[in-house]
């Protein structure tokens, strides 16, 4: 018997549920399914012009992981948004940062949030850290058709593994491949620049303040070399955002604290110029 309220479905995954029952709601669902690809000459041949989000990174430190991202979204050579938020709290012990087409990225974060909460409520317990990372990989994989249309979604997942008592970092490729990073990682257009900085300054077991400083410096350097990454905006008071993932859960680093780190960093840079 198929009642509207009781669809015949008995899995604990929200993503699978809407994929089967409401495909229009999923990433790359039939909403733009029939869309001509980037090769279509009638559309000018260029990739879709949608806002893109850029550099995000994660660094392990003594108690867990710090995850941070800049605030700029670009649309070609235009700035689409100066205050976009790219680091999301997903549940009590996981956070995710995104790079790629802003719309689908934010949608994936929301879907992933719902997915984990849904599982927890149905099963009466949370997924393991590994399980969450795998599930996100499947969602990235499901987005593959959209990648060919120019809508890449690239997440960086950070979770605190309660069983192991440590923070973990996972990166992905567009096919849903999942790779664990042991120390740090950065993705997005300025990801390489940020990684270069982290490579030079990273140490195992950094204290919290040092790790935060390194994260913010890496973003600053990435913004220095990459047009798609936004540095601190002193006029408007917009600074990159960061979150700490540790055994206490997810904590936002307050804006004032980030600003203080940048004040010191920029004073230091200024002194070198004179």
């Amino acid at each position: 018997m198929n009642l509207p309220f009781l669809p015949n479905h008995d899995e604990s995954s929200f993503f699978d549920f809407i994929s089967k029952q409401y495909p229009g709601l999923t990433l790359g669902g039939n909403g733009v399914g029939g869309f001509p690809g980037t090769q279509d000459s009638s559309r000018g041949g260029g990739p879709l012009r949608v806002p893109h989000a850029t550099t995000v990174l994660a660094i392990k430190y003594q108690q867990g992981v710090v995850i941070a991202g800049d605030r700029r979204a670009t649309e070609g050579f235009q700035i689409a948004d100066r205050r976009i938020e790219k680091v999301f709290k997903i549940d009590e012990y996981s956070a995710m940062a995104i790079a790629g087409a802003a719309g689908p990225c934010i949608e994936m974060a929301k879907l992933f949030q719902t997915e984990l909460e849904h599982y927890e409520k149905l099963e009466g317990m949370s997924l393991s850290c590994e399980g969450k990372a795998n599930k996100l990989g499947q969602m990235v994989k499901a987005n593959l058709p959209m990648v060919f249309q120019g809508l890449v979604v690239m997440p960086l997942y950070v979770g605190y593994d309660l069983k192991r008592g440590e923070g973990r970092i996972f990166k992905y490729d567009i096919t849903g491949g999942r790779y664990e990073e042991s120390d740090y990682h950065a993705i997005g257009s300025g990801g390489k620049d940020a990684r270069n900085t982290m490579r030079e300054h990273f140490q195992r077991q950094l204290p919290e303040a040092e790790a935060l400083k390194l994260a913010l410096m890496s973003l600053y350097n990435a913004a220095d070399d990459d047009v798609g990454t936004g540095g601190p905006d002193l006029v408007r008071g917009i600074y990159p955002t960061a979150k700490l993932v540790n055994s206490q859960g997810i904590t936002d680093v307050p804006n004032d604290k980030i600003r203080a780190v940048y004040d010191v960093l920029m004073a230091d840079r200024r002194s070198k110029e004179t």
Partner: protein
């Protein structure tokens, strides 16, 4: 070919209702009761892992009585409905009223069309925020839906439990400690035995919590509330 016996619709409904009632009467009771800071759920449930009370959404909880497999299915369907709605629209658009209506529709259809009715009775409760009142809906096996005030009881001997509580629920909502005391003593009175904290499933929808309001109370918390 033999003709099937004629059974009048009245007779059929009556038989089904009797069957469902018998099934529900076998189970133990669950209580939902308003207290000063939210809604308290107390169930006589010896199992620590097979829950009768569960979270559905931010402000909404579910309690079931009767056949476990059947109300468990309903619970899951409710969570799917709520999460879908919250994902499609917004978290504040998920309401107990729409959920209760959905349950009522489904139970009603199954009761009238299926051979075997569901042997369940469920509660859908929403804690009210920003000076809105709490909402407590009791839905029976036949899909009938009742909007309860202050206290609702489901499961076997629910009338006896309700009678034992009747005189205690007048006046302003009690504290959590007092409310839990009322519920446990009413359950003990009808079960004619002492219930220890391990044999109770207790949860609250706490108005003051941020985000998800549902919280289970551990046996040691229950013990503390009942003794100190």
């Amino acid at each position: 070919m033999p003709m099937p016996y004629y059974v009048s619709p009245e007779q059929m409904m009556q038989d089904k209702a009797e069957y469902a009632k018998k099934g529900i009467a076998k189970g133990r009771s669950s209580i939902a009761m308003e207290y000063a800071d939210g809604v308290l759920f107390t169930a006589d449930n010896p199992s620590a892992s097979l829950h009768k009370i569960s979270e559905v959404y931010d402000c909404i909880a579910f309690a079931g009585a009767g056949k476990y497999s059947e109300f468990e299915n309903l619970r899951k369907a409710g969570i799917r409905h709520a999460d879908l709605k919250g994902f499609m629209y917004s978290r504040e658009d998920v309401t107990a009223r729409s959920l209760a209506n959905g349950y009522s529709q489904s139970l009603g259809t199954i009761f009238s069309q299926e051979m075997k009715p569901l042997e369940v009775e469920i509660l859908v409760v929403q804690v009210g925020l920003n000076s809105h009142g709490n909402e407590i809906y009791r839905i029976s096996f036949d899909g009938s839906i009742i909007d309860e005030k202050t206290v609702a009881v489901i499961g076997g001997r629910s009338e006896a439990v309700l009678a034992a509580m009747k005189d205690k629920v007048t006046g302003p909502p009690p504290t959590l400690k007092a409310a839990l005391g009322f519920c446990v003593s009413a359950l003990e009175q009808t079960a004619n035995q002492k219930l220890n904290p391990e044999g109770l499933e207790v949860a609250v929808l706490e108005r003051a919590r941020t985000g998800r309001k549902f919280r289970r109370l551990t046996p040691s918390e229950v013990h503390q509330l009942l003794t100190v």
